[in-house]
């Protein structure tokens, strides 16, 4: 028979869980939405379009509560399992906007093989990302990462092409290994101090750096940072643009959010060894991403390497080791989402016409100069040139590095980052270059020669405007980040 104090402990625990439930309302909405969409999937009389609208509605509902999170003080729930902070609110808002944009793209450009499950799967990626950024406990973290991963594997594989199956399996195998390594690290940590909470990390243990590298490997896999990036190009190439846009934004930013949280909680942020490791990863990602992208002929593969390089750039803010760096990452993250969606919107439009490699778009500038303008905005934002917010993002990241310039590590990282920007201009400009300078190839007929549809151009314009605006008046977003998100 249980003791009285055991009963009261259980009661206490139930109370805490009950109290914690309202705090995770957005996550509950997404979970409920996921189940709802799965059920609606089965009713064949409901059209795919309707399903996508339902998922947009669910996101809107969740967004309402995420906006609330922006202005509420931080709070910890479920026995240190999760923490809800204004920063998580911001990340989650970005995820929701990304999901809505992807659903919207799917609504306007139906891909060749329509899959009803897509809406539900996208929502579950979102849910996983939500969990990743609120996690304070390895269990929540693993659930989040796996939710994102498993849904991603399926999403890649179900697009009906042979390429898709191959990429899906590759993705799965790499992912499984990364997860296994991560779980091994977590099990060691649990074995050492018997706790799964981030905060209780055995920093005193001499093996701590190995433990943390093991754990990080799973997260870096989601981030797509080198050397855990090998899956990215194949997956990107084999997947429709709307889906990759999501892959390039949501799991990546979630991983960055998770890394920041984890480093702060475990206090590994103060460990020079840790920063050296992350610095090496950042340099490797930037170099691998930038130099591999130069040789690509496939537009999507090029973008894959671009996201790898950008993952490295985001890590720079962490390596800098100051709060300015963190603010810079958040700003850059928001801008990164905008510029990737802008680019993938255009890529999606080309994809609809069967264009996938550079020579397909050669000479296409004639068909629509407006497309070209939008593309150029996207590309110079990705390179980090004014007058786009991409420049402001890089300026802030570089500033945070400058503030810590006395360490040799930072000097190296800074030089690599600056120099690689020049190289990156070379391949980003390749897209406009092919559109303008290369002679156009004779095309047969049909829709191939049409300019991009208006819905594409509208969406791209809608994404390009904030990119320009956040350059001209960056202080709105920045001060918001500084005042609400990194408030003491």
């Amino acid at each position: 028979m249980p003791q009285a104090d055991q009963i009261s402990a259980i009661n206490n625990a139930v109370d805490i869980i009950n109290d914690s439930l309202p705090a995770i309302l957005p996550e509950l909405i997404l979970s409920g939405g996921f189940v709802l969409l799965l059920i609606l999937d089965l009713i064949s009389s409901i059209s795919i379009k309707a399903l996508r609208w339902v998922s947009i509605m669910i996101c809107a509902a969740a967004a309402y509560f995420c906006i609330e999170r922006l202005f509420l003080p931080s709070s910890v729930h479920f026995f240190d399992g999760i923490a809800v902070t204004p920063l998580t609110g911001l990340w989650q808002l970005v995820f929701l906007v990304a999901i809505v944009l992807t659903s919207w793209l799917d609504l306007t450009i139906p891909s060749e093989v329509e899959r009803r499950e897509k809406s539900a799967l996208i929502l579950s990626i979102g849910l996983g990302a939500f969990l990743m950024v609120i996690a304070r406990n390895y269990l929540v973290m693993v659930v989040g990462i796996e939710l994102v991963s498993l849904s991603s594997y399926v999403l890649v594989a179900i697009n009906g092409q042979k390429q898709g199956y191959e990429a899906g399996i590759k993705y799965l195998l790499f992912g499984a290994v990364a997860t296994a390594i991560m779980l091994y690290g977590i099990s060691l940590v649990y074995g050492i101090n018997g706790s799964l909470v981030f905060r209780e990390f055995p920093t005193g243990n001499p093996t701590f750096i190995i433990l943390s590298i093991l754990i990080l490997s799973g997260v870096l896999f989601k981030l797509g940072a080198a050397p855990m990036h090998i899956w990215a190009p194949d997956v990107y190439q084999a997947t429709p643009a709307s889906t990759i846009a999501l892959f390039s934004v949501v799991p990546k930013l979630a991983a960055i959010g998770l890394i920041i949280n984890w480093l702060q909680q475990t206090m590994l942020w103060q460990q020079t060894l840790m920063l050296y490791f992350l610095g090496a990863v950042a340099i490797l990602s930037i170099v691998v991403g930038v130099f591999s992208a130069i040789w690509q002929q496939s537009i999507k593969r090029l973008m894959a390497y671009s996201t790898i390089a950008n993952a490295g750039f985001m890590l720079l803010g962490i390596v800098a080791g100051n709060t300015l760096g963190l603010a810079a990452i958040v700003f850059f993250g928001v801008v990164y989402a905008l510029m990737n969606y802008l680019t993938f919107t255009l890529i999606g439009g080309w994809e609809q016409r069967g264009f996938s490699i550079m020579s397909n778009i050669s000479g296409r500038a004639k068909d629509g100069y407006y497309t070209l303008v939008l593309l150029v905005i996207g590309m110079i934002a990705l390179t980090g040139l004014p007058p786009t917010a991409g420049f402001t993002g890089k300026l802030l990241l570089f500033s945070s590095l400058w503030a810590a310039m006395d360490q040799p590590l930072i000097q190296t990282v800074f030089s690599v980052a600056v120099l690689s920007t020049v190289v990156s201009l070379f391949f980003y400009l390749k897209l406009p270059y092919y559109m303008i300078f290369k002679p156009s190839v004779d095309r047969h007929s049909g829709t191939e020669n049409d300019p991009l549809s208006n819905s594409h151009l509208w969406l791209a314009t809608f994404l390009a405007l904030p990119l320009l605006w956040f350059f001209i008046k960056s202080d709105f977003l920045l001060n918001f980040i500084q005042l609400h998100i990194f408030a003491p």
């Binding site: 040139l385 004014p386 500033s399 400058w402 503030a403 600056v418 120099l419 020049v422 400009l429 270059y433």
Partner: protein
């Protein structure tokens, strides 16, 4: 009203660019008129500005400052980016030159017939950015204009250029971007090291700027009260540097035993040297020039290169005086190298345009030499060379354009005795080439004379033998110009094919309109150089004085 003159100068072309964009293709004929209107208003305004410029002071004039972006850096204080513009003696000539060159370029663009909307929009955007570069007194603002200039230029060279224009334009873009990233790196370091004493004072409730600087020196201002700024005037005052910050001049911060500030100077120097361009960073220039359409060549040689020189004055020398003094010798060596090497290269060219391009490299060497001397004459000469070269090189590229328009062929060996069929054109060419080689009576002469005077009188920075070697440059310059005149214009009349010969008509009215003002100005400033020199004199003197005063205590000068 007058205070907004500079703002109008920057934004007027942008406004016209929007109009050009908005007009339908059916009215394509009006684009060039709109461009001409915009650039002529710019020209009139810049002349107005120059005439109203008070040449007795080195202060910033037409000064204007508005808050633009302010954000909280938390522990690091506040970052303030201002819309701060103004001109002084270092920039007023460049503003005037921009007005003249952009106007000439607009007339020269008359014959553009393809994709007119794109061309004229980009041209106007370029024009606005160039003005912005010279007028901006906030480093961030400058950098914005500096970088945003690259994109229009990339398209203008690439789309309306020659056969290999795609290669040339990307090469131009990559080279300059590399340079501007170096500049960016230093810019970040500077803003993290410099405070705005006025705004910091406002936060502290201290009205007196000197008192704020006192407090700063004593380290009594808490970090989160500091207002970090991109303002160039604030960066120019060493009292505004935060003690112990990376680029503080008062204490030497080192990395691996080499000074931080010296690295910063070097990066800035390379950044602007690519733009200038300085040998051995010049290889983008001949390619870009050869492939660019005539008006863009004119703009490139006439004004874009000067941004490099202006950057030396305003940023390298103005902000890092001890670096300038320390490396004066090497800068002079590089300058002389550029003069000789550029000149010899020019002599070896078969393409007229490439010859002029290399002559630009050679002339920019004089700028380096004059500047390195750090004497009033030298600096004045450097500034004057930039101005004079802006006029002569524009005219030179127009000359190349005249021939190319008629025959699509610029090879020197394919022409001979042009004087007999194109007498007026020959007259114009000879005048321009003589002005370029620095014949007395033309603007180039005064400029080069001043630069040499500087080089010879700067005993402690530049050894006399170096100055003597640089004189050889004059000989080389004279040689390649005279030789090209002799080969192309004199001798028996001959062109490669009779068909081309028929096309070689003399100057048209439009070409006269382009050439006459340039020639008049070349004469005017050759005979009465004081018209420009007087205006910039106090600023240049102050510039040289400041470099010596601020830099001397921190360098060890061994007489060479």
């Amino acid at each position: 009203m007058e205070n907004h003159l500079l703002t109008i100068l920057i934004f007027l072309p942008l406004l016209f660019a929007v109009v050009v964009l908005a007009l339908p293709e059916r009215l394509a004929g009006s684009y060039r008129w709109l461009t001409l209107t915009a650039t002529s208003i710019q020209l009139v305004l810049s002349i107005w500005l120059f005439l109203g410029f008070d040449g007795s002071t080195s202060d910033y004039q037409y000064w204007q400052k508005t808050d633009w972006i302010t954000f909280d850096l938390k522990a690091l204080g506040t970052l303030s980016i201002d819309y701060q513009i103004g001109v002084d003696g270092l920039s007023i000539l460049m503003v005037l030159l921009s007005g003249i060159v952009m106007f000439t370029g607009a007339i020269s663009s008359w014959s553009i017939s393809q994709k007119r909307k794109g061309y004229f929009t980009l041209y106007l955007v370029l024009s606005s950015n160039i003005m912005g570069c010279f007028i901006a007194l906030d480093f961030f603002l400058f950098y914005l204009f500096f970088e945003f200039m690259l994109l229009p230029m990339y398209f203008l060279i690439g789309l309306w250029g020659g056969k290999r224009s795609a290669y040339a334009s990307i090469k131009f873009f990559l080279y300059t971007l590399l340079g501007s990233l170096f500049i960016l790196a230093v810019m970040i370091g500077l803003y993290l090291s410099v405070i705005d004493p006025v705004e910091t004072g406002q936060r502290l409730g201290v009205a007196d700027v000197n008192q704020v600087q006192e407090l700063l020196r004593a380290g009594q201002i808490e970090s989160h009260h500091l207002v970090r700024t991109f303002s160039i005037p604030a960066m120019g005052d060493s009292a505004n540097f935060i003690p112990g910050s990376w680029l503080s001049i008062t204490e030497v911060v080192t990395i691996d035993s080499s000074q931080f500030r010296y690295w910063a100077f070097l990066l800035l120097f390379i950044g602007f040297a690519i733009k200038l361009p300085m040998v051995p960073l010049h290889t983008w220039l001949p390619d870009a020039h050869v492939e660019a359409p005539t008006p863009i060549s004119v703009v490139l040689a006439g004004i874009l290169l000067k941004i490099g020189g202006y950057g030396f004055f305003r940023f390298c020398y103005g902000l890092f005086p001890e670096g300038a003094l320390h490396s004066a010798y090497w800068i002079a060596v590089l300058g002389v190298l550029a003069i000789i090497y550029g000149g010899l290269n020019a002599m070896a060219q078969k393409d007229l345009k490439k010859l002029i391009a290399y002559s630009s490299v050679s002339h920019m060497g004089f700028v380096l030499l004059g500047l390195a001397s750090l004497t009033e004459e030298g600096a004045m000469g450097a500034m004057m060379i930039m101005f004079s070269h802006g006029l002569t090189s524009s005219a030179s590229f127009l000359i190349a354009g005249v021939i190319y328009d008629r025959t699509n062929d610029r090879l020197i060996e394919n022409y001979s005795g042009l004087a007999s069929t194109m007498p007026y054109f020959t007259f114009v060419s000879v005048v321009v080439f003589f002005a370029s080689l620095g014949l007395p009576g033309f603007s180039g002469f005064v400029a080069e004379l001043l630069a040499f005077l500087g080089a010879f009188s700067a005993d402690n920075l530049i050894p006399t033998w170096l100055a003597l070697v640089s004189l050889l440059g004059l000989l080389v310059t004279a040689a390649y110009y005279l030789w090209v005149i002799q080969r192309m214009y004199f001798g028996p009349h001959w062109v490669r094919s009779a068909k081309q010969g028929d096309k070689l008509r003399d100057l048209t009215y439009r070409e006269w309109i382009m050439f006459v003002p340039l020639l008049l100005l070349i004469f005017l400033f050759g005979i009465m150089p004081h018209l420009v020199l007087d205006a910039i004199n106090p600023s240049i003197n102050e510039f040289v004085r400041q470099v010596w005063e601020a830099g001397l205590p921190y360098v060890n000068l061994t007489p060479r």
